[in-house]
Symmetry: C2
Subunit: 216 residues, 2 copies
DNA sequence: CTTTAATTCAAACAAACGTTTAAATTAAAC
DNA sequence: GTTTAATTTAAACGTTTGTTTGAATTAAAG
């Protein structure tokens, strides 16, 4: 490998892409290294050579998408916060929620591979595997703290406990939406025609969660 | 075994209890038959002898709790529906949501073992394992249909598509709540004191989801 | 070209998985 | 008490799992 790394093989990327797809599709535990390396068309030992272990691979899969996404969400929330501070007013709840939710849903359309990852995010909190929950949690914790504090500023009339729980209800709605979009067929449950590009989903969920956060 | 079955061993029940606990804790795929039979203190072969397979065991674990719970939820929703019909008015959204949500959350306290199952429900829609999702889906489909139709009657001013999506947001909030309650430590994410018996949770979530369903 | 490092490869590892078997044990029926 | 059925048991089945190994191959450096 030379000093600028241009000749590095794309084995790592191919593994990351395959793992991302399969983790989203069948879960971390439900995906074997043989399935990953088979889909990526690389040797079985390549995962342990390049990543060390299946767990480290999981961490890299999450890190690759979540760091950029979280940077955007952080900037947007801080922007809402600073704008309100300049005007000497409290932040608007709807703006705060939009700052968090819109980048998340739009991320789904940022690339064809990113869509798989969004499905994976949707299961991250409730994943039966400890490792998955912990890694996701570690990456999202500071952002969630920022979201919480800003939401409290936006809703000073509500006790912090109440804001906390309603944020969790919001997270539940959003993550469930992330998970079902892309592989879900609503007709299976009840017959309703649905078109669901990211922008439409934003317009659907924002009024719901905003009303919920403001309630009473 | 005699004609009234009183002498039947409790092996099946012990397996069901252990499986319920472990499925809720580590997921279906993350739970081995050896872990189940070890916790139940029965022989490894007992699962295949009494249930035929791990998949049939899963189905029995779900059936045992979900049939009674669904019967209650169905009765409560139909009660709201019939009361409104008698008065010649549309059902109240809040009453409809309460009819579905309250029994679900109270079920958590119906017995010490039921709490584990509720955690399992909370992960049922997003479980990485196809089998888990399908079994749960099969049991809940008719009830969800009833909830959908009644919600549409309660919100005639909203298009059915909108009610459908908002019900999914509601399900997302509720199921996420079911999952995090019992093993979740909110302090891990952000420092907030929380007491959460079932009744308190009902009082927390109902205003949120009601406002969300009614929004605009 | 030669040397050296990085990567790929087929093969094997021990461990854990769900399931099956046949003998041993327990309980029921007569 | 004897016979018959139901249940439990220990052991093994064949797969699949994540990981490791050492040789073969490819690319980089001198």
């Amino acid at each position: 490998m030379n000093e600028n790394g241009r000749t590095q093989s794309d084995t790592k990327q191919r593994i990351l892409d395959a793992a991302e797809y399969l983790f989203a599709h069948d879960g971390y535990r439900g995906t074997s290294l043989r399935a990953i390396t088979g889909k990526a068309r690389v040797n079985l030992a390549a995962v342990n050579y390049h990543f060390g272990s299946k767990e480290t691979l999981l961490e890299e899969v999450i890190r690759r998408r979540l760091l950029p996404l979280n940077r955007i969400r952080k900037e947007r929330i801080e922007e809402v916060r600073e704008n309100a501070r300049k005007k000497g007013k409290k932040p608007d709840v709807k703006a705060v929620l939009l700052a968090f939710i819109e980048p998340t849903l739009l991320f789904k359309e940022s690339s064809s591979e990113a869509e798989n990852f969004v499905t994976f995010i949707g299961r991250s909190i409730t994943d039966p595997d400890d490792t998955v929950r912990q890694v996701f949690h570690r990456f999202i914790k500071p952002l969630f703290h920022l979201l919480f504090e800003t939401s409290c500023e936006a809703l000073p009339e509500h006790p912090k406990d109440l804001v906390f729980w309603r944020l969790h209800f919001t997270i539940g709605s959003l993550f469930h939406t992330l998970h079902i979009c892309g592989k879900f067929k609503p007709d299976d449950i009840v017959h309703v025609k649905t078109e669901m590009d990211a922008k439409t989903l934003v317009d659907l969920i924002i009024p719901y969660v905003t009303a919920g956060m403001r309630a009473k």
